[in-house]
């Protein structure tokens, strides 16, 4: 691990983006020295005292950067147990950057990811589990993530892990008994006991493991691409999402492939919107050529929102056939360039077709604006309109749509996105080219990005996909569930599951129980590592390597 240094670090401690206030935090032996250089008190020059608020301004290179409030907390009575200064400035990227630069220009260095918490831990302020949970709480942009972090801090998660570990310990104890007291053979009915209890334990552990996926979504957000033809309404949709009351927006430069991303929270669900050439309308003709980039972004996305113009669809039946492949073809038409190759959607990817501009249709048209998209064997581009209430239930697309429409408001679940033809759909004869392979249809939601109609259904669908729709039968109300939010924990849990599975299999095959105990012990150790009950020499590095930026 890197040696512990007591130099002074600084970072913006509040989430990037616009806010009424933002905080720049400094920590280290030289924090006070830096503050004295950049803070100009509003009134008389006073000696700064610990745990007092001061009004003044931040000055850098002779210029006033911002009017601020300042609070110094001398160690050890601070978060890191070092001298800490917090500068409360006016929110907004430029101002915050200016305040931070002032600190960096005067003796502080930019904090590494997680460095404040790391110092708090290194100085004995927090134990490991607390440190991890604090990182979760701080990193949590949404109520749900915050709740998950807080519960971990309080031991909700550890309780579940501990119960699994206890079960394994009990098995190990029984095995030990039968080995160490072989003359008391009547004690040894272990094999049956373990095999009988094993499936329950595995189910518990796997349920925990599934929560890790939710945890990842909560922590990292759903990588989302909005694609569609020009004027389909992508930017309006973007604005509608960004303008949503609960949304928080900020820019995260420098993620994969230099794609600019914006993170928004739709209620509980964080989305990382990935900007593509087509994501925003642009006058730059060069950017309109960015098919390759769009394709990359689509590949990288977990969620693709494909926006189509509902009026256009309504007027031209040749508007759309949203099978994945047709979708790509459609994209090709919209962009000049080569036809994208490869498979789409990639494994596990969710695609939702948003039929936009429904507000432009008369009320009764809007009511009827529910589509079924079927993959016509000939790849025909026909679009059928279908009334929800009319009898066209033969199509799985309708079924999907119906399910969504009906249940969207009460926490819709979507178990299978690409629900296949299950209800006796007949493939229509081909008129033109025969597709190479059949592809299932995509779910679609009619919306009006302009009026906001249908957005609630979109949000519910996203939530359904990424928070509820996991695993068999989903997770139920995830906020009632403890969620694994750390990659380290997920890895350890997955290891433990692997060991238990192998042990049960061996036991079933008749392998001697003391052999089986070796794998069970590994599982026991892995779970202990999650709980901080085992020691590993590289644990500090591994945990802090995961910490997110600037905390």
């Amino acid at each position: 691990m890197t040696l512990y240094e007591n130099d002074t670090i600084a970072a913006i401690a509040t989430p990037p983006g616009r806010g009424a206030l933002g905080v720049v935090r400094l920590s280290g032996a030289g924090a006070m020295a830096v503050v004295e250089k950049i803070f100009l008190p509003g009134g008389k020059r006073v000696r700064l005292r610990s745990h007092r608020m001061y009004y003044g301004s931040i000055v850098d290179k002779g210029r006033c950067v911002d009017e601020v409030m300042l609070c110094c907390m001398l160690g050890p009575r601070s978060f890191t147990r070092e001298d800490v200064a917090e500068i409360y400035a006016h929110g907004g990227p430029m101002t915050m950057r200016g305040v931070l630069d002032a600190a960096l220009n005067n003796g502080a260095r930019l904090a590494l990811p997680g460095e404040f918490t790391k110092r708090a831990f290194l100085n004995g302020r927090l134990n490991l589990t607390q440190a991890e949970a604090v990182m979760d709480v701080i990193a949590a942009g949404s109520d749900a993530a915050r709740a998950a972090g807080l519960r971990q801090l309080g031991g909700g998660l550890s309780g579940r892990v501990a119960r699994c570990r206890d079960t394994i310990l009990r098995w190990l104890a029984h095995i030990a008994l039968s080995i160490d007291y072989p003359e008391h053979e009547e004690e040894a009915a272990n094999r049956e006991r373990i095999l009988a209890e094993g499936q329950d334990l595995l189910a518990d552990m796997e349920a925990l493991l599934r929560t890790a996926e939710v945890g990842r979504v909560l922590r990292e957000g759903v990588r989302t691409a909005i694609v569609g033809a020009p004027n389909a309404g992508k930017s309006t949709l973007l604005n509608a999402i960004l303008g949503e009351d609960r949304a928080i927006v900020h820019a995260l430069p420098g993620t994969t492939r230099d794609v600019l991303t914006e993170q928004v929270y739709l209620g509980d669900v964080p989305l990382v919107l990935m900007d593509t050439a087509g994501l925003r309308e642009t006058e730059d003709p060069v950017e309109r050529m960015g098919v390759a980039r769009t394709r990359d972004v689509m590949r990288d996305a977990e969620l693709v929102l494909y926006v189509v113009d509902g009026v256009e669809v309504g007027e031209e039946t040749v508007g759309l056939c949203p099978t994945p492949r047709k979708l790509l073809e459609k994209l090709d038409q919209n962009y000049e360039g080569n036809r994208p190759g490869g498979d789409f959607p990639v494994d596990g990817q969710r695609v939702i077709v948003l039929v936009n501009k429904c507000d432009l249709l008369p009320e009764e048209e809007w009511e009827r604006m529910l589509f079924t998209f079927r993959e016509a064997a000939g790849g025909g581009l026909g679009v059928q309109r279908c009334d929800l209430r009319s009898d066209c239930g033969a199509s799985p697309c309708i079924a999907m749509d119906e399910k969504m429409s009906v249940h969207a408001d009460d926490n819709l679940r979507v178990d299978t996105v690409f629900s296949h033809r299950t209800r006796g759909e007949k493939a229509e004869p081909s008129e033109a080219n025969t597709p190479l392979y059949p592809q299932p249809a995509l779910p679609c939601i009619p919306i009006s990005a302009k009026t906001g109609q249908g957005l609630d259904k979109l949000f519910a669908a996203i939530k359904g996909y990424f928070l509820y729709g996991l695993g068999d039968g989903g997770l139920g109300d995830f906020s009632e569930t403890d969620v694994i939010t750390r990659e380290r924990h997920r890895g350890l849990l997955a290891e433990a599951v692997g060991h238990v599975e192998a042990a049960l299999e061996d036991l079933g095959r008749g392998v001697a129980e003391d052999m089986v105990a070796i794998g069970l012990r590994s599982a026991y150790l892995s779970l202990g590592h999650i709980l901080g009950l085992e020691y590993a020499d590289d644990i500090v590095d591994r945990i802090f390597a995961e910490f997110c930026v600037g905390k």
């Binding site: 080995i179 072989p182 392998v511 003391d514 020499d537 500090v540």
Partner: protein, 624 residues
């Protein structure tokens, strides 16, 4: 010339004296004091050596060059491999000993070692150097002052010993031996804190009064596996004497419950700490009230005596109640009790003052081994004695938990300390698949050789066996057999037939096959001049190493993680009291025990992994 005094001639003392004398050679002179030379290597309790985990200890003692394995091989009455239905890691050897012959064998071994002097008498004081940091001499009951460079205290259950049953209290050591009255006070004055521990033994019953027809007979194994890697089973083979199994009855339990208040253990006479692992019959009945019966084993004390040992019936009830209790057991209705059961209590030290070498952390040259350290059992004592002997002779042999059960035993005793008499169990070993009884020589004989305990001839033979095993394992992994060659044999063994060539090692791994079963498929291994029994052991080794390769690899991986932490040293003079961030309890515990490594620190009760993370950070910060 280094002079080493061994106090006590029990199992720890014998191995300590032999270990020190052999290891130090001509540079060392050993004087062993025993209360009585007739009680050298006495077995005051059960007449057997080995058993689960204890058998492993004996194999390890032998692999290091100790005597216990050879002694029991020479004097056993019956031998069995326990846990044979389980995996090879927990196969456990156990042999019934002829107590008298065992004692004679061991006394002769001591007598015939040129640099060991056997002396009858009580050591009453350990005299330390004026600075108080090293051993200077011992003083005997006759006020003789014997200068020495090292003392190994192997006082067993003799310190301030009391034997009790009912209201009877005898101030004697085990079996009526003279107790040691002076040493306890001396140890206190040297700064040791003493515990009071308790153990017990059942009655001995005359053979003629037992109706064996009401019991099930337990024969020894036809295929003999000796304890010593040096013993040829063909030579050790003899007619074996059976043991018998019977059970307590509801009547037994009733009598005990009615008279519980008269047991010395329940009447308040004893307040010492007993062991949960070897409970008295009244403990079993009181604590496991729902169990309908407890097994009772009848074992011979020797070939030349009619005394039978009633295993499972240790007690501190008055003699008249003992008679009733014993006679309520099927087959013991007419039992003539020759010696009553009794409990014994004694002083032992808090072994956390010792280093992993079993030397005191404060007084140089002062070693402890055996029950004085809080353990229980002959094998546990002998193992400690051997290590203490080797180290007193000037070596610094420390076995890790991943190396040997002996390592686990000593680490547990000196790192954690023990609140009750400590019995070795396989479950105490984290890496028991690596610590098999079959590979104790591969693990430890090189260390025994380095310590001077393995003679050149034995070592050459060991190296030959080791190389044979390695070569043969490699051959099995590299040799491919064709379906034509293998299928007839596989068919005969009800094993899935081959459709293409397969490596011999892959066939060995099949549950229904083994190295031995496959021998028709390959040429015999290279001829060498190893005796047949060593070659057989080598073959068994090859079989196990191949068959359990996957599990062994998994356990080796675990052991490597352990070794990494174990290899992170902690400075001896670290002042834990001033490390902020450490919890107060952790500071105190670490300060008190001054662990040698992170691994050892982690095993101290009251020190958590989080504390160690803090400690690691602290050290990193301060070494910069």
């Amino acid at each position: 010339m280094r002079h080493i005094v061994v106090i006590g001639g029990g199992h720890a003392g014998c191995e300590a004296a032999l270990g020190a004398a052999r290891s130090g050679g001509v540079g060392v002179r050993v004087t062993l004091f025993a209360m009585s030379l007739d009680s050298i290597a006495m077995m005051p309790c059960n007449p057997c050596i080995g058993g689960s985990a204890k058998g492993h200890l004996v194999r390890e003692i032998d692999a290091l060059g100790g005597e216990m394995g050879r002694a029991i091989d020479a004097t056993f009455l019956q031998s069995r491999m326990l846990n044979a239905s389980k995996g090879p890691a927990v196969y456990s050897l156990r042999a019934q000993a002829d107590k008298k012959r065992y004692m004679q064998y061991m006394k002769r071994a001591l007598e015939s070692t040129p640099n060991i002097a056997l002396r009858e008498g009580e050591v009453q004081e350990i005299i330390v150097s004026p600075a108080g940091d090293g051993v200077a001499a011992v003083r005997t009951e006759s006020d003789e002052r014997l200068p020495c460079d090292a003392v190994i205290v192997c006082s067993g259950t003799y310190l301030q010993a009391r034997c009790l049953y009912g209201e009877t209290v005898n101030h004697t050591g085990p079996g009526g031996q003279r107790p040691a009255r002076a040493l306890s006070e001396n140890l206190r004055s040297l700064g040791f804190s003493l515990h009071r521990f308790k153990t017990g033994t059942p009655a001995r019953v005359h053979r003629r009064s037992i109706d064996f027809s009401k019991m099930s007979i337990q024969q020894g194994d036809a295929r003999l596996v000796p304890f010593s890697f040096e013993t040829d089973p063909a030579v050790a083979a003899r007619e074996q004497i059976p043991c018998y199994l019977t059970y307590t009855t509801p009547e037994t339990h009733e009598i005990i419950r009615e008279n519980l208040h008269r047991s010395a253990m329940y009447s308040g006479l004893i307040d010492a700490t007993g062991t949960r692992y070897c409970p008295s019959i009244e403990d079993k009945v009181a604590r496991f009230a729902d169990k309908e019966r407890h097994p009772i084993f009848i074992e011979p004390e020797g070939a030349d005596t009619a005394e039978m040992y009633i295993q499972g019936m240790s007690s501190a009830l008055p003699e008249d109640i003992q008679v009733k209790v014993y006679r309520s057991v099927p087959g013991l209705e007419g039992a003539e009790i020759m010696r009553p059961a009794y409990a014994i209590e004694y002083d032992c030290i808090d072994a956390t003052r010792l280093a992993l070498t079993l030397e005191d952390k404060h007084i140089r040259g002062l070693f402890f081994a055996g029950q004085i350290c809080g353990s229980s059992g002959y094998e546990e004592a002998a193992a400690q004695g051997l290590l203490a002997g080797i180290n007193a002779a000037g070596h610094a042999l420390v076995l890790t938990r991943a190396q040997a059960y002996i390592g686990v035993l000593i680490d547990d005793l000196v790192t954690k300390g023990t609140p009750e008499p400590y019995r070795m169990m396989t479950s105490r070993a984290e890496y028991r698949l690596l610590l098999r009884q079959d590979n104790a020589d591969l693990r430890l004989t090189p260390l025994g050789h380095a310590a001077g305990l393995i003679c050149a001839q034995r070592y050459a033979r060991f190296i030959q066996k080791k190389e044979l095993v390695e070569k043969e394992v490699a051959r099995m992994k590299n040799t491919v057999v064709s379906p034509e060659a293998a299928n007839p044999l596989l068919a005969g063994k009800n094993s899935a037939l081959l459709t293409s060539g397969a490596k011999l090692a892959d066939l060995v791994k099949r549950p229904e096959l083994s190295y031995e079963a496959l021998t028709p498929l390959f040429d015999p291994e290279e001829t060498c001049d190893l005796p047949p029994f060593v070659r057989n052991a080598a073959r068994e080794q090859v079989n196990i190493q191949i068959k359990y390769e996957g599990y062994i690899a998994m356990q080796e991986n675990q052991a490597q993680q352990f070794a990494k932490i174990e290899a992170q040293p902690l400075p001896r003079h670290l002042d834990y009291r001033n490390i902020s961030g450490l919890r107060l309890e952790a500071r105190q515990k670490l300060w008190k025990s001054k662990p040698a490594s992170f691994g050892q620190a982690l095993r101290i009760t009251g020190v958590s992994p989080a504390d160690l993370s803090v400690l690691m950070i602290y050290l990193k910060a301060h070494e910069a």
